[in-house]
């Protein structure tokens, strides 16, 4: 009987995991761009000057971390 654990230890599967991770990260960045656009649209519809900067800063921070992670993963993995 074939031992499937040998298949998991092949370098091809390892590379497949890394490529999968990078693709997931890239899709996530695109999703964050959509979120940023929606936040901008909504803050135009209803504007609250007291908190708008906090809301926008939070999503920009998430976006920067996501891009940094993608670039880091591209180099180290």
């Amino acid at each position: 009987m074939y031992n499937f654990s040998n298949l998991l230890q092949t370098p091809q599967i390892n590379i497949l995991f890394k490529i999968g991770f990078l693709i997931a990260n890239f899709i996530f960045i695109i999703f964050l761009i959509v979120v940023i656009r929606e936040v901008r649209t909504m803050s135009t519809i209803v504007s609250n000057n007291n908190n708008t900067s906090t809301i926008k800063s939070a999503i920009l921070l998430l976006f920067i971390v996501a891009v940094s992670l993608f670039l880091t993963a591209l180099v180290i993995l």
Binding site: L8, Q9, I13, N14, F17, K18, F21, A24, N25, F28, F31, L32, V34, V35, E38, V39, T41, M42, T44, I45, V46, S47, N48, N49, N50, N51, T54, I55, A58, I59, L62, V65, A66, L69, T72, A73, I76, L77
Partner: protein, 226 residues
């Protein structure tokens, strides 16, 4: 001889000390005069506020010249408990993974430590985005009551946006429902604003202090009794 009829005391205005009284509009459904100065004590809307009278620094896209926002509403903050609890559980899961790994072993022994670290950072990023989107959904679900109109902004799942507006003169009837122990405990409920003719009705879901909100709108449309 005892009095058969005793006049009910007039309802207290939401802005008692201002020169402009809402009770001057009693019996009429006309919008408030535009040119009359309206000096309201301004209140700051916090990041987690769900009820604010005369909010300061709040505006909306279709706001007319001189239109004043009298009431700012969001769903009660207690409605966020569900996703906050889910987020806490999601945040704790990676902390528990090493203990689970001790019993069941590493399912992916061929992956490097760097990959695991990157995966954990990515996981927390996704959880943070989940938190952010849920907060945004609550934050931008707003109901505004101005001196001329009622505005209901619905926002959900990032892709659904609905901005409904009606003039105060078109508001026909108001009602609220506070059903359940949780709603009674946190004092929030649904407010239904019925409008004239074929116009859509407004439903402010999970609005905090619905009695107060209904009372304020009634004063604005000139009614004294429910």
């Amino acid at each position: 001889m005892p009095d058969i009829f005793i006049a009910e005391p007039k309802a207290e205005s939401i802005i008692p000390d201002q020169p402009y009284s809402l009770q001057k509009q009693e019996g009429s459904a006309t919008p408030l005069p535009i040119n009359q100065p309206l000096t309201l004590p301004k209140n700051t809307v916090g990041l987690f506020s769900s009820f604010c009278k005369a909010p300061d620094g709040v505006s909306f896209q279709t706001q007319e010249e001189g239109e004043k926002i009298l009431l700012f509403l969001r769903r009660d903050f207690a409605t966020n408990i569900k996703w906050i609890l889910i987020s806490i559980i999601l945040l704790v899961i990676p902390v528990l993974l090493p203990f689970v790994g001790k019993f069941f072993g590493n399912p992916f022994p061929f992956l490097s430590l760097k990959f695991y670290l990157a995966s954990i950072v990515f996981y927390y990023l996704v959880v943070a985005t989940y938190l952010y989107i849920n907060f945004m959904t609550w934050y931008y679900n707003v109901a505004l009551i101005t001196d001329r109109r009622v505005i209901d902004v619905d926002f959900s799942n990032l892709v659904y946006k609905d901005v409904a507006t009606t003039k105060l003169s078109l508001v026909q009837d108001l009602s609220y429902a506070k059903v359940g122990v949780i709603r009674a405990f946190f004092d929030y409920g649904d407010i239904l604003i019925q409008t004239a003719g074929s116009l859509d009705n407004f439903n402010f879901e999970s609005a905090p202090d619905p009695e107060e909100v209904v009372h304020i709108i009634e004063e604005l449309i000139g009614k004294q009794n429910v």
